[in-house]
């Protein structure tokens, strides 16, 4: 019923455009598309100088720089899973923040029930969320593949409500924590960051490289890219499209689970803790070009930097003001994102 032939046949025009974005998704960054990146880099330099002039202190600006890179790493990890799922499955996953919250609670359980170091929860969170994602794709979303975009959008929205309310039922609404026994500051050129945050950045980078290698250097990664390019063609050459869909969605949720674990030591754990990242993760995904995994990784860091430097440069406002100004500019001038394909 939901076979590739039928799916491809029902919405050929929409599929065509989305898939071209999708194939871009997983291909390497090419230098030909680097002009917008240079412009964005120049904007960051301007913002850095503005922050320096406004605060009059290298200490504050350096701190904003370090904090921006570190919080940007977490945005990258989250957005990576989101954009992977969009690029390959064409699903706008509104439940991504809820999956992150599941990762937080898995970490809490490991740290408190078992009394272990929270980082032991990392493989548990990745594996648990991977299995959860595969099951959701196989049992729920697979029936709607190739259908209209809003159908899956509504299902993931419903899933996010379901997950956060199940967490509320099981754990209550009161804040919980999974702190490290000791979380000293790490000093970098006069700026300082908690050890747990530095580990989160390192973890995010390692996982980004792993996902990149999986997509670019393994035969299964090639199958994923093939399905993203054309599900019909991939099916014809003998790739199990259903399996690729399930594993890709699992990879996406596993990214959210890993992000949840990595931020758990410095985050207040509540059932709705993931929601605060939802909007920013979508901003990052659109900036990086829908479906572009490496674009999402770099955009995450850009958003983190703009948030922190902008917060210093435009004092007395929400630090997100700078992020949304940049986002609006990108939507107006380059709607396909900084690393998106040239418009057709």
């Amino acid at each position: 019923m939901t076979g590739p032939t039928n799916a491809g046949g029902t919405v050929p025009s929409k599929d065509g455009t989305a898939l071209r974005g999708g194939s871009r998704a997983t291909s390497r960054l090419s230098l030909r598309h680097s002009t917008p990146l240079i412009v964005t880099g120049a904007l960051l330099v301007v913002l850095f100088i503005a922050a320096l002039l406004r605060s009059g202190s290298m200490g504050i600006t350096g701190q904003a720089l370090l904090t921006g890179i570190i919080s940007g790493g977490v945005y990258s990890l989250l957005a990576m899973g989101l954009t992977l799922v969009f690029g390959v499955l064409d699903i706008v996953n509104f439940a991504h923040g809820a999956f992150l919250a599941v990762g937080l609670y898995i970490t809490y359980e490991v740290a408190h029930q078992a009394g272990l170091n929270p980082y032991i929860a990392l493989p548990v969170a990745i594996l648990g969320l991977f299995v959860l994602g595969v099951l959701i794709q196989l049992l729920l979303l697979n029936r709607t593949m190739g259908g209209t975009l809003e159908r899956q959008l509504l299902i993931t929205l419903g899933l996010s409500l379901l997950i956060s309310n199940v967490l509320l039922l099981a754990f209550g609404g009161d804040p919980l924590s999974a702190n490290l026994k000791s979380d000293p500051g790490v000093h970098v050129f006069g700026a300082v960051a908690n050890l747990s945050r530095v580990i989160a950045l390192g973890g995010a980078l390692v996982l980004a490289v792993l996902v990149f290698l999986l997509l670019e250097r393994t035969s299964f990664g090639r199958a994923i890219r093939a399905v993203a390019a054309s599900r019909q063609g991939a099916g014809l050459v003998g790739i199990d499209v259903r399996l690729v869909y399930a594993v890709t969605f699992g990879l996406g949720t596993a990214c959210a689970g890993a992000a949840g674990m990595l931020i758990a030591p410095f985050t207040t754990i509540t059932p709705t803790a993931g929601d605060q990242f939802n909007i920013l993760a979508f901003v990052v995904v659109v900036m990086g070009g829908l479906g572009n995994v490496m674009g999402a990784v770099i955009s995450g860091v850009i958003v983190g930097l703009v948030e922190q430097l902008g917060g210093v440069a435009i004092a007395g406002q929400s630090p997100l003001l700078g992020v949304f100004i940049l986002f609006l500019l990108i939507l107006l001038i380059r709607p396909q994102g900084i690393f998106g394909a040239a418009s057709s």
């Binding site: 019923m1 939901t2 605060s55 202190s57 200490g59 504050i60 701190q63 904003a64 370090l66 904090t67 570190i70 919080s71 977490v74 729920l140 029936r143 709607t144 259908g147 159908r151 299902i155 419903g158 379901l162 309310n165 509320l168 209550g172 609404g173 009161d174 804040p175 919980l176 924590s177 702190n179 979380d183 500051g185 700026a191 300082v192 960051a193 908690n194 945050r197 931020i263 410095f266 985050t267 207040t268 509540t270 059932p271 709705t272 929601d275 605060q276 990242f277 909007i279 920013l280 922190q308 917060g311 210093v312 004092a315 007395g316 406002q317 929400s318 630090p319 997100l320």
Partner: protein, 412 residues
């Protein structure tokens, strides 16, 4: 075929939601036809980001209703029993408004709520339009009662009073310790709550000669790191930091202060949602030591308040927060008004609430007494400090159970 299975799915999810709603509303079912039952409507965030605090408030109301009923109900009305008619605001103003409308339609005699000022502002308008008394347990924004409403009353001190008293208390305890304030840095969340408290603090500080340093703002809904903001505090050379925010960001601030280590004599919350909470020392660890907060608080010396805390703990297996006591007192205010009016007529109940005189479980300058605007004029913000892993009242002396440690050297 696929469409049909999708419809089935929606139907399944939908019926699940109805079932859940049925469970949530379970308390309100039953004998509405009985003339001897008086309904009290509650509006609290029982789901969403503030579900933890919303549940505390709802539990406070439940204990209040139980206490009145166990003592024989409303005697002036033939021993009529109180009954809870609960509504979940989900933390959003429009849901709060529609739930308020529903409860009014249900025939509740009064409303209690809502924890969030934006929600209370809408509910107060509904209450005024329908002439149903509305008692706010928690909701600080001054603006809610600035429209001349007749049917809305507020138990907690309004936000501006927290700002003003915070400035007075900071000056008093720093001078008592012979450790004058050189400069005050202020960190607050960027909406009406944080900005309102900041402005009241600044006005009082200028009057009393406290030197103000930088004002640093952040977005409470999205913030995940306050290290840069605390670096700004450090660079400003201030020796006192005042913070107005919510729970999650308060913990972030404490952790950032421990990491950046600015040379501060004290961190003082002004109506901060974290620094006076019993679980704050657990979540922030050693970073919480010595933190001050100016907020409403249990009257630790009152036997009634102690009994309430013990009852709450045995009933709900959780520490009661001060908000639960404010919700409990809200029910007592309504019950006393019913007793005094001898009627469930809304305007008579409203007039009786306006003349309330009742000793609260929270620290105060005497029995609850509402001003013409509906503000509880005897409510008293007090200064707490985290000492040995628990927040205790340290100022003013009349309410204090321990003396303040100043300078507190937070985050060292």
């Amino acid at each position: 075929m696929r469409t049909r299975s999708f419809v089935k799915l929606v139907a399944a999810v939908g019926s699940g939601a109805v079932l859940l709603a049925g469970c949530a509303g379970g308390d309100s079912g039953g004998s509405s036809g009985d003339a001897k039952v008086i309904k009290i409507g509650t509006l609290h965030p029982l789901s969403g980001a503030n579900a933890g605090d919303g549940t505390q408030l709802e539990n406070g109301v439940k204990l209040g209703i139980k206490a009145i009923n166990d003592a024989g109900g409303i005697k002036a009305l033939g021993g009529a029993k109180l009954e809870l008619d609960g509504g979940d605001t989900k933390g959003t103003p429009d849901t709060g408004q529609s739930e308020a409308q529903r409860l009014v339609g249900d025939g509740v005699v009064a409303l209690v709520g809502t924890y969030q000022s934006a929600v209370s502002a809408n509910v107060a308008a509904v209450a005024e339009r329908n002439k149903v008394p509305f008692v706010m347990d928690i909701s600080g924004d001054d603006a809610i009662l600035s429209h001349g409403y007749k049917y809305s009353f507020r138990m907690q001190p309004q936000n501006s009073r927290f700002g003003t008293t915070a400035a007075q208390y900071v000056k008093a305890i720093s001078e008592a310790a012979n450790r004058p304030v050189t400069k005050v840095a202020y960190l607050h969340e960027a909406t009406a709550f944080g900005t309102g408290v900041y402005q009241a603090f600044k006005a009082e500080a200028q009057k009393s000669g406290l030197q103000m340093g930088p004002e640093i703002t952040y977005d409470a809904a999205s913030v995940s790191d306050l290290t840069t903001q605390i670096a700004q505090v450090k660079a400003s050379g201030a020796n006192v930091l005042v913070v107005s925010g919510y729970y999650r960001d308060g913990v972030l601030a404490a952790k950032a202060i421990q990491t950046v280590k600015p040379a501060l004599d004290a961190v003082v919350g002004a109506a901060d949602g974290a620094f006076d909470q019993p679980q704050f020392p657990t979540d922030a660890g050693s970073a919480s030591q010595g933190y001050f907060d100016v907020n409403y608080h249990f009257d630790d010396k009152s036997a009634d308040a102690k009994a309430f805390s013990a009852l709450y703990k045995s009933t709900y297996k959780d520490e009661a927060r001060t908000g639960a006591a404010l919700a409990y007192d809200s029910v007592r205010v309504i019950a006393a008004a019913l007793e005094k009016a001898g009627s469930t007529d809304a305007s008579k109940v409203r007039d009786a609430i306006a003349q309330t005189s009742l000793t609260p479980l929270t620290l105060s300058d005497g029995p609850i007494k509402f001003s013409d605007k509906g503000e509880n004029s005897t409510s008293l913000p007090v200064l707490t400090q985290v000492q040995n892993g628990a927040p205790v009242v340290v100022y003013p002396q009349s309410a204090a159970v321990k003396s303040p440690v100043y300078p507190a050297n937070p985050g060292q």
